[in-house]
């Protein structure tokens, strides 16, 4: 019974294992014959090892990773700062909101043709795309979170002698954290999806570009490796912010 209980947290892995076994079986038995080659999971794993050993995966992964890191960091920080300003000061909100409302719905990849012409195809292009992808949603979530803080907490803090700045930093921003983290969690995964798409279309290096090369060579095993890397990175990034959210807000939120 004790052993049973110890296993319970790990049971989430079981469906995954079954899925992988089915994949291996279906591919080996060649159930989808005549059409596209469907590599077994073991072949994908072997290719993953090869790509890692020869440095191809590492190099392309690093390109994508750095772009996401830089673009997302700058986009988040800018989004947070302007979101706080817009949430806190109604004048700034009234001034910027109409413009933000117009630009926000444009999907990040929609900016690609314009940015390609303005910035050319260099490292700044993917970083700019990720910046845009992160900036608007985080700004929106932050501003909403700030506005949603019950005004009575502000009154309480005022009655206890806090200045506007102190209220903002010690009460309003902490209470807006759940909303802020929601934005960060969602956009961290989205940043990876966007960078892959941008690299597939326009940029010669990175995981997305590797996928396109694999597509032109019909190397489905490499494509699947890239997809797994993408899924893993989305998962890790989202989990990271979930961890931070839990750390900072679980006890009281």
């Amino acid at each position: 019974m004790k052993i049973f209980r110890k296993l319970i947290p790990g049971w989430g892995v079981v469906p995954v294992i079954i899925f992988l076994m089915l994949w291996e079986l279906i591919a080996r038995v060649n159930l989808i014959s005549g059409h596209f080659f469907f590599p077994p999971f073991s072949m994908v794993v072997a290719e993953f090892y090869c790509l890692t050993a020869n440095g191809v995966l590492g190099k392309n992964f690093l390109s994508s990773f750095l772009r996401v890191l830089i673009g997302f960091s700058f986009g988040s920080i800018a989004g947070l700062l302007i979101g706080i300003l817009m949430g806190w000061k109604s004048l700034i909100d009234k001034a910027l909101n109409p413009i933000i409302s117009l630009i926000y719905p444009i999907p990040a990849l929609g900016w690609l043709p314009l940015l390609m012409l303005w910035l050319g195809i260099g490292e700044i292009l993917p970083i700019a795309i990720i910046f845009i992808c992160s900036f608007f949603p985080i700004l929106y979530n932050t501003s909403t979170g700030i506005k949603m803080v019950d005004k009575n907490y502000i009154r309480v803090a005022k009655s206890l002698g806090a200045s506007d700045r102190e209220i903002l930093t010690s009460i309003v921003i902490p209470l807006a954290l759940p909303n802020i983290f929601t934005g960060l969690k969602l956009e961290s995964g989205m940043a990876w999806r966007v960078i892959i798409a941008a690299e597939m279309v326009a940029i010669p290096t990175g995981i997305g570009a590797l996928m396109m090369k694999a597509e032109s060579l019909m190397r489905i095993d490499i494509i699947i490796v890239c997809l797994i890397v993408l899924a893993a990175m989305c998962f890790i990034f989202e989990r990271f912010f979930l961890f931070l959210e839990t750390r900072f807000t679980a006890r009281w939120s």
């Binding site: 005549g34 059409h35 596209f36 080659f37 195809i121 010669p204 396109m212 090369k213 597509e215 032109s216 060579l217 019909m218 190397r219 489905i220």
Partner: protein, 335 residues
């Protein structure tokens, strides 16, 4: 009641006449894919002259593809049993996508060239310069593999040259040349010749780099050979006939291919690119010049195929080399 009975009889006769006629010959569906290049001239000529129908071959589809890679994807995926495509994409289809195909004949040798802006590039070494922008198809394409041969042969700095490459398909490269956004382009024919219309000069041809390079080939799915070898025999025969005709009637061949490419291009491309290859650029004169740079022959040398396979494996485009006999089935050719 009697009248009704007679009507039924008449209908029945009509039915069997019509459908009986349809059922009289077993028709095998043949989906055909051809490259949008004068590499597939034999296909275009055969189609125009109705030689497929003459041999009783009913084409259920006849599609053009801008690049060999695009064609290869379609071959792997869809209802295409026959393809006129470059050798190297065919190798990828076989080795990477594991599609069961056989090469049953060649269509031509050579047919690729490096065109450059003569003001900016005087020699092959200039390709290494940082400010040079070189157009080339995506990795794995025939032109890309040839480009690697160029780098090897002329001992160019691989990293420098590859950094200068901008990957795009041939029509886009022509557009880019027109707009002054490329200084050099490695292109298959007819595109290389078209580029000369915009002031570019041919610096290298495939003959200079890779003697006896196999250009395009006639590819069929294994199941077609297995189930209908007579169809494959007819296809090879038609290809041979068309190839001989091209060599004997180069002027007329150029006119036919130009017209066929214009028709196909009108539906393939968006407006601004259609302009390039339709009425304005793909003229019989251009095609004649281009086709003279190819050697149209159905002969195919297994050793050259083997050499190609090994080189592609060396470049890492396929996981490992394999025997040329595994992909070749030249018995229809020898007959």
């Amino acid at each position: 009641m009697k009248k009704l009975f007679i009507v039924f009889i008449l209908l029945g006769i009509l039915f069997f006449t019509f459908f009986g006629e349809c059922f009289s010959e077993e028709e095998i569906p043949i989906g055909m894919a051809v490259e949008f290049m004068d590499h597939a001239a034999s296909a275009y000529i055969s189609h125009e002259k109705g030689w497929f129908e003459e041999e009783g071959l009913k084409l259920t589809s006849y599609e053009s593809y801008v690049t060999g890679m695009a064609l290869a994807s379609a071959l792997a995926r869809g209802d295409i049993q026959v393809a006129y495509m470059c050798l190297i994409p065919a190798i990828h289809v076989y080795a990477n996508a594991k599609v069961p195909i056989k090469i049953v004949a060649g269509t031509h040798k050579y047919g690729y060239g490096l065109v450059v802006n003569p003001d900016k590039i005087k020699s092959i070494k200039d390709l290494e310069r940082k400010d040079i922008r070189i157009g080339c198809v995506r990795e794995g394409g025939a032109v890309d593999v040839l480009f690697h041969k160029v780098i090897d042969k002329y001992e160019l700095d691989k990293e420098k040259v590859l950094n200068n490459i901008q990957r795009m398909n041939p029509p886009k490269q022509i557009l880019a040349i027109k707009m002054g956004k490329l200084d050099a382009a490695f292109l298959p024919e007819q595109w290389a010749t078209i580029a000369e219309n915009f002031g570019f000069k041919m610096l290298l041809m495939s003959q200079d780099v890779w003697p006896a390079m196999q250009g395009s080939v006639l590819v069929v799915k294994e199941e077609l050979i297995r189930d209908h070898p007579e169809v494959v025999e007819k296809l090879v025969k038609i290809s041979q006939k068309a190839t001989d005709w091209i060599n004997q009637n180069s002027q007329e061949a150029a006119e036919i291919v130009a017209q066929q490419l214009q028709e196909a291009g009108g539906s393939l491309f968006p407006v601004e690119i259609a302009d390039i290859d339709t009425k304005t650029e793909i003229t019989p004169e251009v095609l004649l010049r281009s086709m003279n740079r190819l050697e149209y022959t159905t002969d195919i040398d297994p050793m050259v195929v083997q050499e190609t396979i090994e080189y592609v494996a060396q470049l890492g485009y396929i996981k490992s080399s394999f025997k040329a006999e595994d992909i070749l089935d030249l018995r229809f050719l020898e007959e």
